[in-house]
């Protein structure tokens, strides 16, 4: 048996706005093994970021609330932890990097101080030790002349360098899991390529499991081993990266792949998925994708399909009923 570090079981997270429940995540289950890289793709509003925030225990309540399910980190349910216990895990055992490196760093403290903070807090290091470790971490993420740069402030760094600092900070306590929420979306392609190479490299070196959230299928193809495709709060397809691109099964996954302009091959009209994504909670009966699907049948309209096993993939579609 593989060494499972994180297991999410039937996670349901809702937001309450104007007394109405919006189920942003409506029953999501997956596992991450040590050293695994798992990607979650989906469009805005599919619930991918809410899943990540739920794992971190960062859902603001109110308006958000985790309605059910469990998040097991090495067998312990994180949802039953007190805030004090969570603090020992967050940033230490499970850490996270965000899309916007500009807003996730404190503009009034030096980079060194911010890096040292989590080390002093979680690892009981002295100031001096923490500073040494901070320099070491910056070297690991290949930031030039780290001895000088730890005395500088975030505004003196470019976007790509800030993201490197964020990664250094997230990895400084040697976490078991790193959650990366669209870490390259705000960056230019050449910088994105640098950061992706860095993440790949660090995954190999440190053995940290990575949960990588993105909307970019290209990034997924280059970085992860397994992929979850989310739509309207649920997993619609769960497969290895090879299978997702070679044999996508769910009509949504196929639609998503077709709507991307291809860099290779001749130019043809783009196929697109008609209509737009429904709001969370908008679809109460039947398959979530029924309003945009080309293969919709009576069964789809009446009842939501379970996840079917197709080859090595899991697909939420009635077409694969045995």
């Amino acid at each position: 048996m593989e060494n499972i570090v994180l297991e999410v079981k039937d996670l349901r997270t809702s937001f309450f706005i104007d007394k109405k429940e919006l189920p942003a995540v409506a029953g999501v289950s997956f596992k991450i093994a040590a050293g695994e890289t798992l990607g979650i793709v989906g469009e805005s509003g599919s619930g991918k970021s809410v899943t990540a925030f739920s794992i971190m225990g960062l859902i603001d309540s109110p308006p958000g609330k985790i309605m059910g399910g469990s998040i097991l980190y090495k067998g312990e349910n994180l949802l039953e932890k007190t805030e004090k216990e969570m603090r020992k895990i967050r940033g230490n055992k499970i850490s996270m990097i965000f899309q916007e490196p500009m807003t996730s760093l404190n503009p009034v403290y030096t980079i060194g101080k911010q890096l040292a903070e989590s080390l002093i807090l979680h690892q009981n290091m002295t100031k001096k030790e923490a500073e040494k470790k901070a320099i070491e971490m910056l070297k690991l993420v290949k930031l030039p002349s780290p001895e000088k740069r730890i005395k500088e402030y975030p505004f003196q760094f470019s976007g790509g360098m800030r993201q490197r600092v964020m990664i250094a900070m997230a990895l400084s306590c040697d976490p078991d899991i790193l959650i990366a929420d669209e870490p390259t979306t705000a960056l230019d392609v050449t910088i994105q390529s640098q950061i992706m190479e860095l993440i790949r490299d660090l995954n190999r070196k440190t053995g940290t499991a990575i949960l990588f959230i993105t909307h970019d299928l290209g990034v997924i193809a280059e970085l992860v081993q397994n992929v979850i495709v989310m739509y309207n709060g649920k997993i619609v397809e769960y497969a290895s990266v090879k299978d997702i691109f070679k044999t996508p099964y769910h009509p949504y996954t196929i639609g998503l792949l077709n709507s991307m302009p291809k860099i290779a091959g001749p130019r043809e009209e783009l196929k697109f998925i008609r209509g737009m994504a429904p709001l969370p909670g908008e679809i109460v009966k039947g398959c979530r994708f029924k309003t945009r699907c080309d293969y919709v049948t009576e069964e789809c309209r009446m009842e939501e399909p379970p996840l079917y096993e197709v080859g090595d993939s899991l697909v939420r579609c009635w077409r694969f009923k045995k």
């Binding site: 392609v189 910088i191 994105q192 390529s193 290209g218 090879k242 991307m260 860099i263 697109f272």
Partner: protein, 324 residues
């Protein structure tokens, strides 16, 4: 041979930096530093490059939303830069701009129908009744139902808002539409819808596009010709197929290899550039790319490369590209 609708010659746009205490010019941000290109009637020219390379500034300079420092912008035989205010208004009618963020470019307090009519009113087209008719016509042309014209922007999704922005841009029957990252704020499935809409409008109305984007796969899909910008200069320009089949400038090559490919089994060896783009306040001497170039030699630090014509409209600025 089709006629050039727009010709840009040695366009320079600088932003002066003023001293903090004594307000005198202490330096210039050379956002666009001498670029030349032309666009034929009915063509789509893609402009790619990373943030800060000057692609958006170029688009604003063409419309004189930012006053260029030097150069010529010749639109239908007339120099935009030398035009009077009145002439400029006429020119702007024929050149429209579509921005990246459809949330920010629509007035949240106005009904979308009124916004469309306002454009016509500003340019004194028709009477109120006719204007309503024209607005309805364009609203439907972009694939929206005219009964939604009394709604406010917040009632539409991102993709629909971008459709409204396009309706407004084409309402004056322009010749040239400059699209500044029109699909970057949208989800992939919606992005495809807007790209197809753009193609459809182009064929129907005979539009010419300048398409600015950082997403190379999108640019490749829509453009006939692509210009690659780096730090205020065009480093390479060629027909789309030629550029992708045969990129010559090291920066173009690196840019192409940085695109994530949707093929997990076929991983290509990447050219990873070191570091970041230098500041346009103090661009490096010689070739501007030499600080990050993997081919750089001494000559690159001293001498700026000349533009070399490789034939077939393929122009490249690099010391190591031999024309043979």
């Amino acid at each position: 041979m089709q006629e050039n609708i727009l010709e840009i010659k040695d366009l320079k746009i600088h932003f002066p930096i003023k001293g903090k205490i004594i307000p005198r010019v202490v330096g210039n941000v050379k956002a666009v530093d001498g670029i030349s290109f032309s666009i034929k009637q009915g063509e789509t020219l893609g402009l790619v490059g990373e943030s800060g390379c000057g692609k958006s500034t170029t688009s604003r300079g063409i419309l004189r939303l930012i006053e260029p420092k030097a150069g010529q912008v010749i639109f239908e035989g007339k120099d935009v830069i030398k035009s009077s205010k009145k002439e400029l208004k006429e020119i702007r009618k024929k050149m429209q701009l579509v921005f990246q963020d459809p949330f920010a470019s629509l007035n949240p307090k106005m009904r979308v129908g009124d916004m469309l009519e306002e454009v016509l009113y500003v340019h004194r087209i028709g009477n109120p009744k006719e204007r309503k008719k024209i607005a309805e016509n364009y609203f439907e042309m972009v694939g929206l139902n005219k009964k939604y014209m009394t709604r406010f922007p917040h009632e539409f999704s991102g993709g629909q808002r971008q459709r409204i922005v396009f309706a407004r841009a084409i309402a004056l029957n322009p010749k040239l539409v400059i699209c500044d990252e029109p699909v970057s704020a949208l989800d992939v499935s919606i992005q495809a819808q807007i790209i197809n809409l753009m193609e459809e409008l182009k064929n129907r109305l005979g539009l010419t596009y300048i398409f600015i984007a950082h997403d190379l796969s999108v640019v490749k899909h829509v453009s006939d010709r692509i210009a690659v910008m780096y730090l205020g200069k065009i480093v390479e320009i060629a027909d789309t197929e030629e550029l992708f089949a045969n990129p010559r400038h090291p920066y173009t090559k690196a840019l192409f290899s940085a695109i994530p490919v949707c093929d997990p089994e076929n991983k290509v060896k990447k050219i990873t550039l070191e570091g970041d783009m230098p500041s346009p306040l103090d661009p490096p001497k010689g070739c501007r790319f030499h600080t990050r170039c993997y081919k750089a030699k001494d000559i690159c630090k001293e001498k700026a490369p000349q533009e070399i014509d490789l034939g077939g409209g393929h122009l490249v600025s690099c010391h190591f590209v031999k024309n043979d």
